[in-house]
Subunit: 332 residues, 4 copies
C-alpha cells in the first residue's frame, strides 16, 4: 500500500503527539515538521529522523513529498498555514478550533473546496468509542426522542494555570462540547445564555468558570458547564455528557478511565483513552482520528468532521463569549 | 418534659409521614389530623389513634390541645390553613414551597409575625448531614471563595408521571435546589435564564426538563438541571450538588444511598436517608427536621429555615417559570 | 416518661461518643462516667456535668441511680466490668467485641443470664439502614437463595498507624464483618482459611492485611478482606458488603457517604452515617443503636444483638487468627 | 512492508473476531479459516473472502501462504492444532487457556521451542492500557512494596447460562486473573484455598461462584472472586483488580467503560474496550494483542505473553479446581 506523505506544522503539545503517531503509522510517511520555536522543532525532527523547518512556508515549498499537512499551531495561527497548504493542493487536518473568527473559518473552508483538498477538523471526541456509540444509540431510537443534553468539561486547576493566559474555558474546553452537542442532538443552536466568573477578584467574566443554557432549532436544550478549577486532590478532570430522552437516557464519562494510582505523591489517573502506550506503540483515540484522516485521503472518503462542523462549533463558542461579555442572551 | 400538642393538616404523601413521625416522637403529642379526603383522613387517624377531621377549621376550633400545626396540603392550599392557624396563635410548620404566589407568602410571614408564632418551611435538605457539612465547610473556607454551584435534581419518569399533572419540575424539584443554592452561596439570585422542554410534542415548555443559569448578587453563578425523565432501568434519581471554589470543591450526592438491591423486578435503591426504618422506629432527615421544629417551639429557638427563606426560594422559582414562559432572561 | 439511669465505663474514643449521645438522649439520664485515665475522665465528666470516677467499681457501688452501663473499655478489659455490673443487676451494653477469649465471652453471657439483666453487644452495623434493608431484602427472597457474600473493610493507613499496635485487622475491623456475614447468610461458619501479611518485613502475618474464605453450614461461602493500608490520597475507607444470590444481588457500601470536601489539605469525606451533627444534636446509627438498648431495657424487649451473637463473631475472629498463625485451614 | 500470512483455526465466538481483525490489519494477510462446524466456517470465510476448511489439517497442508495460525478452538482442542502447526513451522497464537492439562501445555511449549516458532497465549489483559500502566506503576515503586492483590471477575447470569455447561468460573474467568496476579505481583503462587458453590441444589461445588485465597512465594497474598450470577438489571460484569502496597494502592476496573445506555429494554454498557468499532474499523485491546503477535513474528521479537506464562496460569487454575473438589488447601 502506498503511504501518504505528511508534514506537521506546529509541534508543541498536540503537534508533537501527531508527529509521534504519524511516524509510527502503517499508512503514513512523516516527511517533515515545522515550528517557529527552533529548539522544539529540532527536538521533534531529530526524534523522528525527519527534516525540520522553522518556516512552514519554506517546508511546503521545498518538500515535494508532502501530500497533506496536520496543523497544530496556536488557535489564532491556524488560518495562514491552512490557506497556503490548501492553495498548494495539500490535504488539511486542523486541530480544533478550526479558527478564531468566522471570517477565517469561512476562508479556510472555501479555499479547501476550491482546491478540492480534504479538510478535517480535529474534534477528537468524534473518534471516541463512547461518543460514537452514544450517537448511534440515539440515532437508533434507544432513548426515544432526545429532550436535553448536559455537557461538563471541568478541568484541573493545574491545567487552568497553564491555559487561562492563552485561552478561555469556552474556547479551550467548551469547543469540544458544543461540537458534540450539535452532533448528538442533530440540530443547530439558535440561542445561548451564559454566566461566568473569574477566580480572581476583578478578572474577566468567564475566565475560570462558565455555565450556559443553549436552545436548539428542534426545541431541545443543552446545559454546558466548563471550568478549570478542580483541586489537585481530585486527581482528575470531570468530563460528562448526558442525554435524557423521552424513553431512555445516555451517560458518557471520560474521566475515570478505569485506573487509579495512589502513590505518596497523590492520586493519578493515567491516560487510557487519548494516547496510552501498549508495548511500544501508541494506541487510543488520537491515533484513530489521525488514521481516519489518512484513510480519507488515501481512499477518497469524506472526513467524519468537516470544515462546516468546525465552523458551526466556532459560531457557538463566539456566541457564548458574547453572552458572557454582555451579560445577555444571544441569538445565533 | 412537657410534650408539644400538634396536629397535621393534609395527610397525603407527606402529611401521613409527618403523622407517623410525630406519633413516635418523644417530644410531641399528636392531637389530631385533618384531610378533606375522608378515606385518607380516617385511615391515618385510625392508624395513630387520634381524632380525625374533614375540615381543619373545625379541628383548630375544637381541639384545645393543639399548640402547633404541620401543613402538608397541596401547594396552593398552604395559605388558608397557615393564616387561620397563625391567627389562632398556633405555631406553624409548612411543607415546601411556602406558597405559590409572592402575595400569599408575604401574608403568611406577616400574620405569623403579628401573632408571634414560630414559622418554619420544610426545606428538608437543610437537615441533611451532607448539606449541613457542605455549608459548614464553605463557611470555614475549605474551598476558598465559592465560584459556581451546580444543582441537579433529575427524578424518575415514574415520579414524573405522577407529578407532571399537578406541578412542574421547577416547583416540585427545583424549589429544593434554589433554597440550597441561596443558603450555600450566601447571596441572593439577581438574574435567571431558563430553557425547557416537554416530553410530549406541543406540551408546555419546561413540563419535563428544565435547565437554567442563575446569577448571584456576589458575582457567582449557578447551574440548575431539573427533570423527571429518568428511565426505570436507572433505579434511582440523580441528585447532585457541587460547588467549585478558588481553592477546593465540594460534591454532594443524595441518590446512591449506599444500597442497591437487584431482584428479578429490577434495581431498587431503598431509602436510607429520608425516613428509613430501624428496629421499629423511623429515623432519617425528615424526623430530624420535625424534631428541630418541635425543639424550636418548646425551647423558643429560631427555626433553621425561616418564612423569609421560603419566600426567597419561591421568588426564584417564579422567575424561572417566567423565563421558561417568555424565552427570555429575567431579572429579580 | 421515666428516664433510664446509665453510666459509661471507659470514655476514650468510643466511650466519649456514648457519653455525648446519652447526655442528649430523651430516654436516658447519664449518671456518671468512669475511666482509669483521670484526665480523660475529668474532661468528659466536666463536659456533661456528671460525676466522674477513676475506678468503675467505686462508681457502681456509690451511684445508686445506675440501672445500666455502657462498657467501652479496651477489648481485653470488657470482661471484668461486665461481670461486676451484671452481678449487681445492671443492664449491660458492651462495645464489640464482646470479649477476647471464648471463656470470657461465655462467662459474661452466663452471668447476665443468671442476673436476668439485658446484655447487648455493640455491633453497630446492625443498626445501619443499609444493612437492615439488605437483611430484609434477603429474607424476603429478593435475591433468591444467597450463594456467596463478600465483605471488605479496608481502613486508612492513618487509622492503621493508631490501631496496629493495639489490635489486629481481624479483631478491629473483621469482627464487624463476621457478625454481618452470620446475620445475613443466616448460617454458622464451619471452616475458614486466611492469608495475611505485615507491611513491615518480618512483621506478624496478618498485621496489616488479611484475606480469607469462610464456609457456612448451609453450603454458602464468604470472602473477607480487611486491611489498614489505604493511602491518604483516597480520603476514605473502602467498606463493602455484597451478596450474590441465585436471582439477584445486593450491594452495600458505607464509605462514600454522599459528601466529598476537597480543600488545600486534600480530600475529606465527613461522617454522615455514624454520628453526624444536625443543628446541635448528634444523629446517626450510633445514636440509634444506643436508643435501641435504652428502649429494650425500658420496655423489656430483646436486644437486636445478643451476647450469643457477640460470642459467635468472636469465635470466627479467633479461628481466622489461628489460620493466619498456622497457615492452615481451620474448622470451627 | 511484507504482510504475514495467517489462518484462524476455530471461528466461533473468539475466532470470528480474530478473523475480522486480521482481515482489516495493515500487517496481516488472512489466508484461510478452519472450523469443524461447516455453517460457521462458511459464514466467516464468505464474509472475509478467504478459503474455508472443515479440517484444519487439510488447510495447513494445502495453503502454502500460511506462516502463522491463531488457535481459537474450544479449550480442550487447543493442543492438537498447536502441535501440528508448530511441527509444520507455523508460528502460533493460542487463545487462553494454553491447554487444559499440564502435560498438554508442556508439549505445546516443547514442540514450539523445538520448531523455533513463536508461541503466544492470548491473555488479552496484558494488552489493556489499564493493566499495563498498573504493572508499570508497581514496578516503578509507586505503591511501595505490594502487600496483597484482589481480583474479581463476576460475569452476568446471561453469560453464565451459556458457559456453565462448557467450562467453569475458574477456567473461563479466573484464568485471566491468575495470569494478571502472577504478572503484577511478580511472584509464583505456592498455596491456594478455594470455596465455591453451585446455584443449583446439588450442583458441583464452584459451578457458579468461587472465592479463593492465594499465597505467593514472596509472602504476599491474593483474593480471587469469580462468579457468573450477576442479575440482568446490573447491565454489566463486575471486573476489578486492586493492589494494596506499603505506600499506595492501585485500582483497575474494566466494567464501567464510560458509557451507559438506558433504553426501554434496560441498561446496556456497550463495549468500548475489547473491540469497539470506530468509523468502519475495529479498535481496542484485542486488535492491539493481535497486532503485537504479528509484529513479534515479522520483526522477530519475544511475545509479551509466553507459553510458560500460559502454563503457570493453567497450573494455578488446576490447583484451585482441586481445592474446590477436595475442600482442602492445596500447595503448588
Amino acid at each position: 500500500m502506498k503511504l501518504l506523505g505528511i508534514a506537521v506544522i506546529g509541534v508543541g503539545n498536540m503537534g508533537s503527539r501527531y508527529a509521534g503517531i504519524l511516524a509510527d503509522s502503517p499508512w503514513a510517511h512523516l516527511v517533515a515538521v515545522a515550528d517557529s520555536d527552533e529548539r522544539r522543532m529540532t527536538a521533534i525532527s531529530t526524534q523522528y529522523g525527519v527534516q525540520g523547518y522553522i518556516d512552514y512556508r519554506t517546508m511546503l515549498q521545498d518538500e515535494k513529498g508532502i501530500e497533506a499537512v496536520a496543523i497544530c499551531t496556536p488557535d489564532r495561527a491556524h488560518v495562514e498555514p491552512a490557506l497556503l497548504a490548501a492553495s498548494l493542493g495539500k490535504h488539511i487536518m486542523v486541530e480544533k478550533p478550526l479558527a478564531t473568527t468566522i471570517e477565517d473559518g469561512e476562508r479556510i473552508i472555501r479555499t479547501a473546496a476550491d482546491a478540492r483538498v480534504k479538510l478535517m477538523v480535529g474534534h477528537v471526541l468524534r473518534f471516541d468509542p463512547r461518543h460514537i456509540q452514544a450517537y448511534e444509540a440515539i440515532r437508533n431510537g434507544a432513548i426515544g426522542e432526545p429532550v436535553h443534553i448536559f455537557c461538563r468539561r471541568n478541568d484541573t486547576a493545574a491545567s487552568g494555570q497553564i491555559w487561562r493566559k492563552r485561552s478561555t474555558p469556552v474556547f479551550f474546553l467548551g469547543i469540544h462540547d458544543v461540537d458534540v452537542m450539535r452532533w448528538l442532538m442533530n440540530s443547530e443552536v439558535v440561542r445561548v445564555c451564559a454566566e461566568g466568573k473569574s477566580a480572581e477578584p476583578g478578572g474577566p467574566v468567564g475566565q475560570d468558570s462558565v455555565g450556559a443554557v443553549l436552545r436548539f432549532a428542534n426545541g431541545c436544550f443543552g446545559l454546558l458547564e466548563v471550568s478549570w478549577l478542580l483541586p489537585p486532590s481530585m486527581g482528575r478532570s470531570d468530563l460528562r455528557l448526558e442525554v435524557l430522552g423521552t424513553k431512555g437516557a445516555i451517560f458518557v464519562q471520560m474521566h475515570d478511565r478505569g485506573l487509579e494510582v495512589h502513590s505518596p505523591e497523590g492520586l493519578v489517573r493515567p491516560d487510557t483513552i487519548l494516547m496510552p502506550k501498549v508495548h511500544d506503540h501508541v494506541t487510543g483515540i488520537l491515533r484513530d482520528e489521525i488514521s481516519h484522516f489518512l484513510e480519507c485521503v488515501l481512499r477518497d472518503k469524506q472526513p467524519a468532521v468537516s470544515g462546516e462542523d468546525g465552523l458551526a462549533a466556532l459560531k457557538i463558542a463566539l456566541a457564548l463569549t458574547e453572552s458572557l461579555r454582555t451579560g445577555m442572551q444571544i441569538n445565533l
